[in-house]
């Protein structure tokens, strides 16, 4: 019996790494063609790009710096003919998420800027807000319950944060724990983007969703830090694959072995940008395929 289980797990892992897998949702599959979700290799940072078949696009976080935009983010979009982002989403104003935002705003037309609007002293965040204001870009304070359409077939649902914002032990508004959590829904394929949320936010999110958090694709929070990705979250999401965005030999030891082991023990196939390069999810709305670049994506 154990042998059979191991064989089944191995077969699923192989399938997950190399081919099409079915989404877990039961939504209709009117997908409008293929949507690409790219976990871009921006080192010890995060940038997730989404492009639909009909040319709509968004970016969730923008890496560490203008260099990430110049060398990774902009080439990815340009290779797909994208010059306008319907949505530019910021998970939270830490440098490894906001650092490239000013350069993105200099390089692309933006439909709406979506931001949890947390207190900050980050200079790149200040420059981001200045550009959004100078260019008169519509801005949305992201809060749980909001939803947007990316084109006709991809829905974005804001799951986190919610008011009142979480506070840390010192009474300050928490940074990571109020990061923007987004669920992308393309037909039956769901992708959960979690920014850097940690255990306290995960606990609340799991309770709020009350069984509704399942998603076959999970962006592992906080670059695989042991502060996050609790067993309760994994059990609630039940991902088939998980993507960790981390830089090779980063000083924090991300991703922490404890988190990777926890995911693998739950039968999740783990991809890492520090190992696999950019990780592409190609969804047709009923199933998805994973491709890894092993290096820079050239389109």
């Amino acid at each position: 019996m154990l042998l059979l289980g191991l064989l089944l797990l191995a077969a699923l892992t192989l399938l997950a790494r190399s081919g099409w897998l079915r989404g877990t949702s039961v939504e209709p599959s009117a997908s409008g063609g293929q949507t690409t979700i790219a976990f871009l290799d921006v080192g010890q940072a995060l940038a997730v790009a989404v492009v639909t078949a009909d040319g709509h696009a968004l970016l969730y976080d923008a890496g560490n710096s203008a260099r990430d935009v110049r060398e990774v983010i902009a080439p990815f979009f340009e290779a797909r003919g994208v010059s306008r982002l319907d949505y530019l989403l910021l998970s939270h104003p830490d440098q490894d998420h906001v650092g490239g935002m000013p350069a993105v705003l200099d390089s692309f037309a933006i439909g709406t800027f979506v931001d949890p609007a947390l207190p900050s002293t980050n200079q790149a965040y200040l420059e981001t807000l200045e550009r959004v204001a100078d260019h008169s870009i519509p801005a949305q304070r992201a809060r749980r319950g909001q939803a947007f359409m990316l084109g006709e077939h991809v829905r974005l649902e804001i799951l986190w944060p919610r008011d009142p914002l979480l506070r840390d032990e010192s009474g300050e508004v928490a940074d990571n724990d109020n990061a923007l959590v987004v669920r992308l829904v393309h037909g039956a394929v769901t992708v959960l983007l979690t920014g850097d949320i940690e255990a306290p936010a995960e606990r609340q999110l799991v309770a709020l969703e009350d069984g509704g958090l399942r998603a076959p694709v999970l962006q592992v929070s906080h670059h695989g830090s042991q502060t996050s990705t609790t067993p309760e979250l994994i059990d609630a999401v039940r991902p088939a694959i998980a993507v960790i965005s981390a830089g090779a030999d980063n000083p924090y030891g991300h991703p922490h072995a404890e988190v990777v082991n926890r995911l693998r023990a739950a039968g999740v196939t783990v991809y890492r940008t520090d190992v696999d390069g950019t990780v592409l999810i190609e969804s047709d709305g009923t199933s998805y395929r994973v491709q890894v670049s092993g290096g820079p994506v050239d389109g």
């Binding site: 965040y125 200040l126 807000l129 204001a133 949305q140 304070r141 008011d163 009142p164 000083p251």
Partner: protein, 86 residues
């Protein structure tokens, strides 16, 4: 002086950018690098100089930056909901 906890940086080399400004590449003992204009370093700093880094809080700049961000957030997103408007 030597007993205080401090970061030690070695000026590994001097580079120049496209505008001809001189930049000092500081390398901390753990290998981290910091590239800063040579002009802001103590007079006489040269390749091979060893510097002790000191940190000084800047509450005025912190306050100003926090306030500029809060002001822009209010302009862009409207009034802060809930308890944030302390």
């Amino acid at each position: 002086m030597g007993s205080e906890p401090a970061l030690i940086a070695t000026v590994d080399r001097i580079e120049s950018n496209e505008r001809g400004e001189l930049l000092a590449v500081l390398v901390l003992d753990d290998g981290q690098q910091l590239v800063v204009p040579l002009a802001i370093l103590p007079t006489g700093t040269r390749r091979g100089s060893v510097l002790r880094l000191r940190w000084e809080p800047d509450p005025a700049t912190e306050r100003e930056r926090r306030e500029r961000i809060r002001s822009l957030q209010q302009r862009l997103f409207g009034p802060e909901p809930g308890t944030e408007q302390g």
